[in-house]
Each structure stands twice: as C-alpha cells, then as structure tokens.
Amino acid sequence: MVDLSQYLPILIFLVIALGLSTLFVFLPMATARLTGVYNPTAEKLSEYECGFPAFEDARSQFDVKFYLVAISFIIFDLEAAFLFPWAVSLGVTGWVGWTGMMIFLGILAIGLAYEWKIGALDWD
C-alpha cells in the first residue's frame, strides 16, 4: 500500500472547503427562513426573466463551432498529459525519449498547422 499520509493536507483542505461552501449556501437560507416571513405564492415562485416569463428551455442547441473548439482543446490537452511523465523520466529515457517526444510533437504540430491554415481556429 502507498503511504497516503502525504495526502492528508489535501484531504483536510477538501473537508474544510466542502464544509464552508455548504455553510455559505444553507446558512442564508436557514437565516431567512427563521427570521423572515415565509409566505410563498404561485406568483412569487414563478420564474422571472426581465419582467417576462421565461421564453424557452435554458438548454438550446448551439453552433457546432463550439464543438470544434472543444475537440481541439481535448486533443492538445491529451498531448500535454503525455508531457508530464516524459519530463520527469527524461533522465532514464535519454535521447530515445527525447527524440520520440519531438516526433510526437511534430505530428501534432503538423495537425495544428493544418487546422490553422484551413481556418478552423478562426471564429467567423
């Protein structure tokens, strides 16, 4: 088993963060409920959008351009994820590892050049 005590600070941090954020959400609600007058009606509870009832569902279809951006993000995100182990193990892998990564980056650089030239990075 791994020595997990090194993760204790982050565990404590997470517990405190969770506790505080819960407090911030529920404490005002509880205070309002306990001190104010609680008397809901249908009108009070209806949604309010600049004085009008909401026109449509908040979920609407949007342009496929966003998708292209998200895909590019994921691809380069994955590329970056490969860089972490490469960077820390360069002492073991030596020139083989270095050359390998350069070829990998080269392949994706070609992809980036293609993407750029074809106009996929332009918004309009």
């Binding site: 392949i107 050049a113 293609y114």
Partner: protein, 491 residues
C-alpha cells in the same frame, strides 16, 4: 532493440505516414480542386508500399523472427501477405473514389489522407504481436473509418451511418479492451507469445472470460453474427466508394488479426475458442444467406453477402489447422476481388445526374442498356454464388476441403446448404438484369458514362474471377501455405 532494423521492417508504414502528413499539409494549402492530384499521390504511395512489402517478402527479410521494436510487431509471411492484400484493395478504392464525390462537389484532399492513415492502422493490426499494438492499430483504422463513413456530411444517411458505426464501434472497442485487460491480468503480459506460455494448461474462468470478450470485440469488427447488426445500415448509408473500401481492406485486416491472435496468443486454448468460432461461422452463413432475401436495395444485399462470406472465412479458422488457415487466406484474397468488383459495378450504376441506381427495380433490363456492365456483374455474382467454372467456386472448395479434412463435416454440410440458399439472390441479380423488361415508364435517364479507372478495376476483377483465375492457383496456394505456416512456427 535495434532501431535501424525496426525502421527497415516497418518501412512501408513509415513511408505511408510521411506521405499522409505531407498530403495533409498540401490539402490545406492547395485549392480544393487539387484533391485529385493528392489522390494520385496517395495511390502511388500505396503502390510503393506494396512493392516494398513484396520486396521484403521475396528477399527473405520477412521471417518469423523479423520482430520490430522489441516484440511489438512482426513482419512474417502472414503479415506481409495480409498487408499486400490491404494495400492493393485500398489502392483500387482510391482509383474509383474521386469521380463519385466530385459529381456532388464534396471531394476534398482529406479523403486520401484518411485512407492512408487507415491503411497504416490496418497494417499495424495485421503485424501486431502485442495486445497494445493490436489496439492502437485497430483504433487508428476504426477512427478514420468512422470519419469516412460520414464523409458526405450534408447527406443525412451518410451522417447517420457514421454515427451508428461510431457508437457501435466504440462499444466493440470497449468490449475488446475489457477482454484484453482480463487476459493481461491473468497472463501477466501483453505479448502474444508470452500469453501463449502463461495460459498453457488448464484455463481459468477469468482468462476464459477474457478470451471470449476479445473474440466478441473482434467479431464485431468483421461483422460476424451475432455482432452484425450495424453492417447493412452502415454499408447502405455510407457513400458507395466508402462502402467499397469497408467491405474490403478493414475486413481483411480484422480477419487476419483474429487468426493471428487465435493461433499465436490463444493457440494452446484451441478447444476453448473453436466452439465460438464454429458457432459464429454457422450463424453468419445462415443469417447472411437468409437476411438478403427480402432486400430490395442492392447495397444492403451486398452487405448481407459480406456477412455470409465472413462465415465461410471463419470455417477455415475453425479447423485450427495450417491447411484451414491457408484455405482461409485464399478465400480472403478471392473475396476481396469479388467484393471490390461488385461494389465498383454498383458505383458505375448511376444516371447522368449522378443519382445512384441502387435497387433491383432500377437495374431491370440492364443487359440491353449496358451489356458490358451486365456481363461483368454476371461473372461477379456467379462467382460470389460459387458456381463452378468461375473462380469463386475454387475459394469455397478449398475452405470446405479443409473443413472436411479437419473432421468438421457438419459445419461443411450446413455451409454448402446455406450457399445454395445464398445463390438465390445472386441469381436474382442476373435474372433481373437479363430477363426483366426495363420499366416502361422510362423517364429514368440512361446509365451514364464512367471514367476509365472504374472500367479498368471492374475489368481486372472480372478477369481474375473468370476461369482464367485458375492459372493463379499454384502461386496463391504457395503464398497462402507460406503465410499459414508462419503462424504455426511457434506451435
């Protein structure tokens, strides 16, 4: 690990990768009209890769210990033969592709690039001797296939085909990966030879589950029953040149890796997978033969025909003998030619506006309108049905011969019975073309002219399938036997 040797062994793939990368950049910089030039470049790269592979095979470099990168890949006679088949059928697909998309204004330089990457993935797949190489090769090939299936993106059916293929293909990859991780867990290695050693002896339940899941995942990729549901829809929806490709090269690659995996990694567990393969073979033959009967769309008929043919291929695998594998390879080569020819013929059936004629109704009386096309289709269909003077008969003969020799009499009997049923719809093609009157309300335009590339591919496949093909049998038998024995050297 010697990098120079490794690079020399994968020279064909390396060349294809480099050409594909250059073509990718060119497709962005050159105008759209240059796509045809890029296609020619890609086709020549494939031809070069075939020559390189053939040279390695002939000068004896390709051998059982031609391992590249540790033991990730092996260039033996088996992978060299499979690669040649893959490169050549991809080459033929490239020849017939551009005019189809150009008529619709959809052609672009990415098409040949994706096809080249697909070819790289497939050749990694067939030479894989490690589960990880297998998976990477499979994904490289599948991912580009999904894109190709929906290449005509403004066409609803093409987009639907791509999406269906993607979702079901993703599921199959997941199943395969799950099986592979089980196999790795119980064997302790991803290398085929090491798995073979580790799994020798009695097979535990967990490892058995792994093997079954791996077979299920690969059965999906070769569209064998019961994992065939996607095939008619995808073949029907995808643009016809893409379907031509799907029915050929990827299927060759998947069948080849299934064979290699069965004999090298799971070779000690023949008893465990023989039942699965025999069942899948039977089911594919029967479903493929029966499913096509009610179909009106020609592409769907050919899709069922390919399911049916996969069943015959798997009979060769189920024998578990070198003779069976060699019969399977012969069948694979002839199947590739038959399916290529019939889809190219289908591709040539369109009117002057480029609207495809894809139903039985639209080819009625074709013999009077386009006798050459009709006669070529006659040869192709009779060959698919396995009617004696044609070469397709020889393919079925060697497979059944191997099955009978291995004592699988029942399998062979059912196979022969089902091929008689299957002959029904092949003969229906011929009946409709030659004996049905053309529709009297002939507002329908004539079948338009086709470029020379289509005619040459069609002519080449027709000649190969005619009785002249029998001249090739000694050479084919020699190659197939060499390839098959490469798998059994480790045994």
């Amino acid at each position: 690990m010697n990098f120079a040797t490794s690079l020399m062994l994968i020279g064909a793939e390396l060349g294809l990768c480099l050409v594909a990368l250059v073509l990718l950049l060119l497709s962005a910089w050159l105008p759209r009209a240059a796509a045809r030039v890029l296609t020619i470049a890609a086709a020549s790269a494939l031809a070069g890769a075939s020559i390189y592979t053939l040279a390695l095979l002939l000068n004896g470099t390709a051998g059982p210990d031609a391992n590249a990168f540790g033991a990730l890949l092996r260039l033996d006679a088996f992978s060299a033969v499979a690669k040649l088949l893959i490169y050549l059928s991809t080459f033929a697909c490239l020849v017939v592709t551009p005019s189809f998309f150009e008529r619709r204004g959809q052609y672009r330089g990415e098409y040949p690039v994706l096809l080249l990457f697909n070819a790289v993935g497939m050749s990694l797949l067939v030479s894989a001797t490690d589960l990880m190489t297998l998976y990477i090769g499979l994904e490289l090939s599948s991912l580009s296939s999904y894109i190709l299936a929906s290449f005509a993106r403004s066409d609803m059916r093409s987009a639907e085909a791509g999406l269906k293929y993607f979702i079901l293909g993703g599921l199959a990859s997941g199943i395969l990966l799950y099986g592979m991780s089980l196999v790795y867990g119980f064997a302790g290695s991803t290398n085929f030879d090491a798995i073979r050693t580790a799994l020798a002896g009695e097979l535990g339940t967990g490892a058995l589950f792994g093997i079954v899941l791996v077979f299920a995942g690969l059965a999906f990729k070769i569209s064998a029953v019961p994992f065939h549901m996607w095939t008619p829809d995808v073949y029907d929806g995808a643009p016809t040149p893409v379907t031509t490709f799907f029915a050929g090269a990827p299927k060759i690659a998947a069948v080849a890796i299934l064979t290699r995996l069965s004999f090298s990694a799971f070779g000690e567990q023949f008893a465990a997978w023989q039942q699965i393969v025999a069942f899948v073979a039977l089911a594919s033959i029967v479903v493929g033969a029966l499913g096509a009967i009610g179909q009106e769309n020609l592409k769907r008929v050919l899709a069922y025909s390919s399911i049916n043919n996969v069943g015959f291929l798997l009979i060769g695998l189920a024998t578990g003998t070198a003779a069976g594998v060699s019969a399977m390879l012969i069948y694979l080569a002839i199947y590739a030619v038959m399916t290529l020819g019939s889809f190219v013929a289908l591709l040539m059936l369109h009117d002057a506006d480029g609207v495809p004629m894809e139903t039985f109704g639209s080819i009625a009386g074709l013999a009077q309108r386009k006798p050459a096309l009709a006669w070529a289709l006659l040869v192709l269909m009779f060959s698919l049905a396995g009617i004696p003077p044609l070469f397709g008969f020889y393919a079925k003969l060697v497979v059944f011969q191997a099955a009978v020799d291995a004592g699988l009499i029942a399998l062979a009997t059912v196979g022969i019975a089902a091929s008689v049923i299957g002959a029904f719809y092949y003969i229906k093609f011929v009946k409709v073309m030659f004996f049905d009157a053309r529709p009297s309300s002939d507002a329908r335009a004539e079948v338009a002219r086709n470029p020379a590339g289509h005619w040459s591919v069609l002519a080449a496949s027709t000649v190969l399938l005619s009785p002249l093909g029998f001249l090739l049998t000694p050479a084919m038998e020699r190659w197939a036997a060499a390839a098959a024995s490469a798998l059994f050297l480790t045994a």
